[in-house]
């Protein structure tokens, strides 16, 4: 029962998260870049992020109050895994199939898995690859939701990672 509630909670927060994606900002992070490019998903977000990097609008001290960051350009903690998954979607797609990689380890860390469990996490996503990427339309937040759902059902990861 408790697990059911937790899953429902995760499902709900993720739905909100994906809604907020649609609500006007994409995964690039903060600042002008993401405002200019809006919520166009995908590779353009890299350029949005790059624009952030060169335009300087993401400099700290500028109060924008938007786009996943606080006014000093720091990413809001509760958005960190969403942002990471969306920004590194291509890399994660590959590393999950291959079953190792730095981005995969980083995601494991963001999902609360201690270093000792990174290999377990990597095997887990490789073994459940088809369930995580159900179609060729799978988006980054669908991927992340499937990973989290699966982790809750996995006895080892649900107990060792603090999701």
């Amino acid at each position: 029962m408790r697990r059911f509630f937790m899953m429902a909670f995760v499902g709900l927060t993720l739905t909100f998260a994906s809604n907020s994606f649609a609500a006007g900002y994409g995964a690039a992070g903060c600042g002008l870049g993401s405002m200019v490019f809006g919520n166009e998903p995908g590779i353009i977000q890299i350029f949005a992020a790059t624009t952030n990097g060169t335009s300087g609008s993401q400099t700290f001290g500028i109060t924008s109050g938007t786009s996943n960051c606080d006014a000093s350009g720091i990413i809001l903690a509760e958005r960190e895994d969403d942002l990471f998954a969306a920004q590194n979607f291509d890399t994660l797609t590959k590393e999950m199939a291959v079953g190792n990689g730095e981005h995969l380890d980083t995601l494991a860390g963001l999902l609360g898995c201690p270093s000792s469990q990174r290999a377990v996490f990597a095997s887990f996503v490789q073994e459940n690859y088809e369930a995580i990427f159900t179609s060729d339309q799978t988006t980054a937040d669908e991927m992340l939701r499937a990973v989290k759902d699966g982790m809750f059902r996995n006895p080892v990861l649900s107990s060792s990672c603090s999701l």
């Binding site: 998903p41 060169t54 720091i74 990471f84 890399t91 590959k94 291959v98 079953g99 988006t139």
Partner: protein, 641 residues
Amino acid sequence: MINDWLLVLALIVLFLLPRESDLFAEGLDQEHYLQSLIDQATEKRLSQQRYWHLLLHYKKSIFGKYESQEDGLSFFNSPGGKSDPQAELLATLSSFFKKNEGFKKGEKHPQCNFPARFKWLSKQLSFDTSRFPKPACSLLEGWLEELNPRRITLVFASYYMNNPASMFGHTLLRIDTKREGPDQSLLNYGINYAATPDTDNPLMYTLKGLFGFFKGRFSVFPYYTKVQQYSNIDNRDLWEYELNFSEDQMNDLLLHLWELGGNYFDYLYFQENCSYHLLALLEVANPDLHLTDSFFYHVIPADTIKVVTRNDNLVVKRVYRPSLLSQMNNKRLKMTPPQDAMLQQLVKDSSWLERDEYRSLEISDKVLILDTYLDYAQYRNMRNRKEEKAPTEGDRKILLARSRLRYQRQDQGMIQFSTLPELGHGSDWLKIGVGRSAGQTFEEISYRPAYHDLLAKDIGYGKDSQILFLDLTARYYNDLEETKLDRLKIIEIISLTPYDRLLQKKSWRFGFGIDSIKDFDCHFCHSFKTSYGLGFSYKSSYANPFLLYALVDSEVEFSKRLDHDYRVGGGGTIGLLLDLTEDWRVQILGNILAFPLGHESDYYKVSINQRVALTQHSDLRVEMSQMEGKDEWVLSGNYYF
């Protein structure tokens, strides 16, 4: 009864409220205290100390006057602060006593705006902080708490030949936080200093960059976005230099970065560029370092790495982060030729997975081919796609097949496709030579501030590439007893990337400058010349010392000495680069050009050039050529510094 209570309450409130005279006394006390601080600061000549100059970015001009490099006026508390260290110091002291209230939205108290100045002055003058107003600097505190530095890493992004703005490399800093876990460095924050370009026009971009019309600003964002951009999309290897700073020094660096964050410097492509101000930040962290002093008129990112690595014990560790393509090429080097052929088949058609040829492979061979393919597919997708898409049907088939193998291979023994930038030869170049051209003997002198030519040793630089900037050559002809400008290459770029069936990269060159016309006799006349060539290079394997290239050329020249004042034409180049030993390089080159437009003419040129390196920073060269039956040779000694 209730009225009585109200009266008592009102009296208590009145009593607790500060009285006018109290406020006045407090103001008077602060004024006295400020005056005593000003007296002390003046007596101690704080405004003449190096650290104050570092914090305010003051540099002495050739006339001995101080001027701050900072160009955002909100960086200064005094109207004359940009050029008056003492006035700025006094104004800063008094600004710290500003009342806590009355700030507009977005404005912050000077104590929150300039925490590094507050900290340093507090130490120098032993501030009694109880006599200062105490603003809440919550934004700053949250920022410091999140960044929470454990280490600082200087990152060098190596060369990316296809984008002129990136050719000199790039540097940024990474703040490594105290986040737990060994594999979390992607989540750290990168600190970047970059220009804010407001034009896409390459000429305007270049001119504005050269003359400081862009604003340069610091920004902070997750390191993974930079890895994404440099490693995966631009295909640039990253070199990470972990620096040796104490916790207190790192804290000082962040406090000062905060002061710079809301401001800007005029961005100068060659002087005050991405690398220069990072060095200035490091000096604030540790004022014993003198990093910016060694740069006079140009700062090249690789040179900043050289300066930093020359300081004893400043670099603790170097980490190589191969780009996506370098990772792929590492796997390809482990392949046998039949495996590489299989990879090519897979690239053409994903249904190759269903063939017996694949099915009969050992699992480790399957893994090697599929993993290499997936690197390639990721690179191709990230470069070509404009929008987020899950993998294509073909790629998806391969991803699924790969995941079903349930095999995790570890990349061991990575070959480094780029070399440490600090090992490269100096970027300034001086050449002194003697020679003979069409029967005339001469002495020759060349100088250029940047950067690297095809004949030079390429340790620390992009392989088989050339970038020359403001390369000037003059000759003194002995019989004429006259000095003549031989050529001025404003910019010349050559990028020879071996052709690869998988990546199909082209080779190209571009040049722009003044040259002597030598195909007919016009007595050392000059033309304004621009040329462009496109073609292919061939190298049988990565380690092969032999590179062959062929380019199709086009050229436009303007000169009063040409009929109709111009000529337009095209032709071709065939070249060979050969490393006979580590220090001995030979280049053999043949050009043919025909000009059907303007001044109708054509010519051929054959050259053999050789370089023998004496040290990392010096070499001897013999350059010989023949053009329309006229011979020329130059023997030279070259020094890089």
